[in-house]
């Protein structure tokens, strides 16, 4: 008779103890994540962190911890705004926990102490991080330290509008062989301009629409420099190859001069450009693998493979066919509570799992980050991701992670634009770039 009340009180005591221990372990964590260059197809850059938070909460629950993670997401569509906002927020110590940005930001941001190395928080030998392509992980490193985890991979191909290529004399077999021909260096930049001209001369496209490149500054233009034999960095030092840069500037000046590219092309409204390439108004253009998603999802190009063929960027004089990969990376910002940063790092790790990352890859037409992602049926069943991965990724270069690269880039672009629009002659533009690089970077750049 007396045992029952005792048991009851014991049970109550246990319940109180259990609830109080649960309270003791309850943890509310607020993780903010910002992503640059993020349009409607790229939402999984942010959503993957939310998915990861669900998983981490469940794992914590199994360990007896009551972890509640709130993820605050902020996409930025433009890069300039995003980088300005992030840099200033980080300087003001109000940066988000996680940032998704281009790998080239690692050098300046780490030097300034705005980001912390992710390898301080995660085990790179454990799955899924151990499975990430070694070259991508290298791109996400600086000074031998892994700062970020690649969020996606991509490359920037040259696109050709198939019906026009046929109309200027290419057979189906020729077109099938074109990617290989570009890769072997048989089809060059010279051929590209000739074909663009033919398309215009035949009246297939309007003047200025034969070759229709990117309308604004971007990593794409470094591919042309590589095509013409340029090197961006060697042995940790930036390189300005005058001859290669002259050929690069000359290529665009020639394109404008021969009328296949518009003089006023740079700065035109982006929406207009998208619409025009999706509807066959342009003959040949360069872009990124993610363009597939935009063309098919937003611009109404239903039969992509029937209308478009894609290749590496053809070789120019003195260079080789190439493409550029510009992985965005998940980065951890400095100045946060160490435990929050650890949780943020865990979220990045989980978000990098193949199936989660494949959601982003397929939706946005970016490429996968790890070997096993190619074995995920959902990913490999997608024709675009499969073909683009096989055909482009093995030839992909990346921009250097160098804290002075941004200065080089600005000077290179400014003078490219000037020679393109005729504001300067090619020689004057290269000369101005050289003298400004000398006065700006001194012995940090090799000029040859």
């Amino acid at each position: 008779m007396t045992i029952l009340p005792t048991l009851k009180s014991l049970a109550v005591a246990a319940a109180i103890l259990a609830s109080s221990s649960a309270i003791a372990l309850a943890k509310d964590v607020h993780i903010s994540v910002w992503a640059g260059g993020t349009g409607p197809n790229d939402v999984y850059r942010l959503d993957a962190i939310e998915i990861a938070a669900q998983q981490l909460q469940r794992e914590a629950a199994l360990k007896g911890e009551d972890l509640k993670i709130t993820v605050e997401k902020k996409p930025y569509s433009a890069w300039e705004d995003f980088k300005q906002a992030l840099t200033l927020a980080a300087e003001a110590k109000t940066a988000p926990n996680i940032v998704v940005s281009g790998h080239e930001d690692i050098a300046p941001w780490s030097q300034a102490g705005l980001i912390v190395p992710i390898e301080d928080y995660v085990d790179l030998d454990s799955w899924p991080l151990s499975d990430i392509y070694e070259n991508l992980l290298k791109i996400a490193s600086y000074n031998g330290t892994v700062y970020g985890i690649p969020q996606d991979a991509e490359s920037r191909p040259m696109f050709f509008w198939k019906p026009y290529m046929k109309a200027i004399g290419y057979s189906d077999a020729d077109l099938d062989a074109l990617p290989q021909s570009v890769q072997d260096g048989k089809y060059t930049m010279k051929n590209l301009l000739e074909d663009a001209k033919k398309m215009q001369d035949k009246g297939l496209v309007q003047p200025g629409y034969g070759f229709y490149p990117r309308t604004s500054n971007g990593p794409d233009y470094w591919q042309f420099y590589t095509s013409f034999g340029g090197t961006m960095e060697e042995g940790g030092k930036l390189v300005f190859d005058k001859a290669a840069m002259t050929r690069t500037y000359q290529f665009f000046a020639d394109a404008v001069k021969s009328g296949v590219t518009k003089k006023n092309h740079i700065g035109m409204p982006g929406d207009q450009w998208w619409k025009e390439v999706a509807t066959g108004k342009a003959g040949i253009w360069d872009g990124g693998t993610w363009h597939y998603a935009r063309l098919v999802n937003q611009e109404g190009l239903k039969d992509f493979f029937g209308n478009v063929i894609f290749t590496l960027i053809p070789a120019g004089e003195g260079g080789k066919a190439n493409t550029l990969t510009h992985p965005l990376v998940y980065l951890l910002t400095a100045g946060h509570d160490k435990e929050d940063t650890e949780i943020a790092a865990q979220l990045i790790k989980i978000a990098s799992e193949p199936r989660t990352n494949a959601l982003h890859a397929v939706k946005s037409a970016h490429l996968g980050i790890s070997k096993s992602e190619s074995t995920v049926d959902f990913y490999s069943a997608d024709r675009w991701t499969r073909e683009a991965t096989e055909r482009l990724l093995p030839h992909a270069n990346a921009m250097p992670n160098n804290s002075d690269f941004g200065k080089y880039w600005n000077i290179m672009w400014k003078n490219l634009e000037a020679s393109w629009t005729g504001a300067k002659t090619v020689d004057a533009a290269v000369g101005d770039a050289e003298s400004e690089l000398k006065s700006t970077l001194g012995d940090k750049i090799v000029i040859r």
Partner: protein, 433 residues
Amino acid sequence: MKSSRTLGLVMIAPAAVMIILFFLMPVVLTAVFSMTNMTTATGISGGVYQIAPNSLIALKSAMPEIAAEMAEPRYTIDEAGLTAVEGLGMAPGIVAELRAKHIGEVFPARRDVERMIKDLAERPSTREVKQTSEQFNRSVLNTRFDSKEQLFSALDNLGFKLTPEQKEIVAKTTYTGWTWTTENFSRMASSPDMARVLFNTVLYVALVLTLFNVGYALLLAIWTHYMPPTPASIFRGIWLLPRITPVVIYVLLWKWLAWDSGFISILMGKFGYLPKNYLLDTAYNAWFFVVLINGFIGASMGMLVFSSAMKAIPKSQFYASEVDGASRWQQIRYIILPQMRWPILFVTCYQTLSLLASFNEILLATNGGPGNATEVWALAAYHTALRNYAGNLEYGLGAAMALVLVVIGVTLSLLYLRVFNYGTLVAKPLIED
């Protein structure tokens, strides 16, 4: 008398504080920043000392052997490290196993030592692995030191025998922050692009000012002066619209007008012309639109000032001239213009300063293009210091550029005060002279 003076000071104190905080401080800070090489990479708040592979490149040429030695990352399992690990309060088996099996081992990289730690019988968590490996770090590579002293003491502890001069070289090459410099000014002076930007600025100010802010404004004022009151008010109201429309919408309307798919292209298409981006087609086109966009906004202020000034001209002068048979042109030449000298000077001065610093309409319309043809000084400073695709914000150079604008602005202001003869100006109403 004395107390009223004190009271005056107290009354003016809030305004003085505002002036110092919002007017003087930005200028002082701009001047300070302009004397630095501050960028995104150097940060704003100051740097640290970090012996990283990239800084060792510079050190290699000065002292190759020491640089090579510093480049070596070393993780040594020693007693000091083990004691430190004990202090972390981990499972005792971890330290015991490390001591028994691994003491004296040296690992070349952090990942190697962490792999060993993960293989211990009592496998620690990732966090503990990271904490443990750090205790055995016997290298200065990639470690961030807040001060020179910390850097030097770490080098001393690791047995680097460096002379004070060598230490200073190490400190100099490994410092990540900004330093004082006058290079921004020499860069500006030597850059051909800066000369072009300066020329653009002069062109922009001169064109908008003469054609619109003063010229067209005066024309509008004279037109409306001779109109009946109601249509005159409506006319003036219409010319105020560009001023009161939000600038983003206003510029967007211009873009819609001038884009490839815009109104002009559609209209010209009817006559067989191919559509083109009239706004960015050539540098001349871009200038044409930039001047129009800014001019239509700026004309309204001059128009208002001139209109009210004209109203202040005694009507009797016009009546008398009419009686004498003066034509409109003679009225303008001999009655209006001579009495408008001061309003015209005022509008010229005020609008010069305002145009020098304005760039938002250009940013929205052409963003300085095509080929930097419409990049004016203020816009270039903004691009350099705060907004560019590469994300490399050069605060120091941008501030130096802004300082040039401040200097020009202040110089012009002083010049204008002199031209206006400010003392005379406030003494008596000049228009009724």
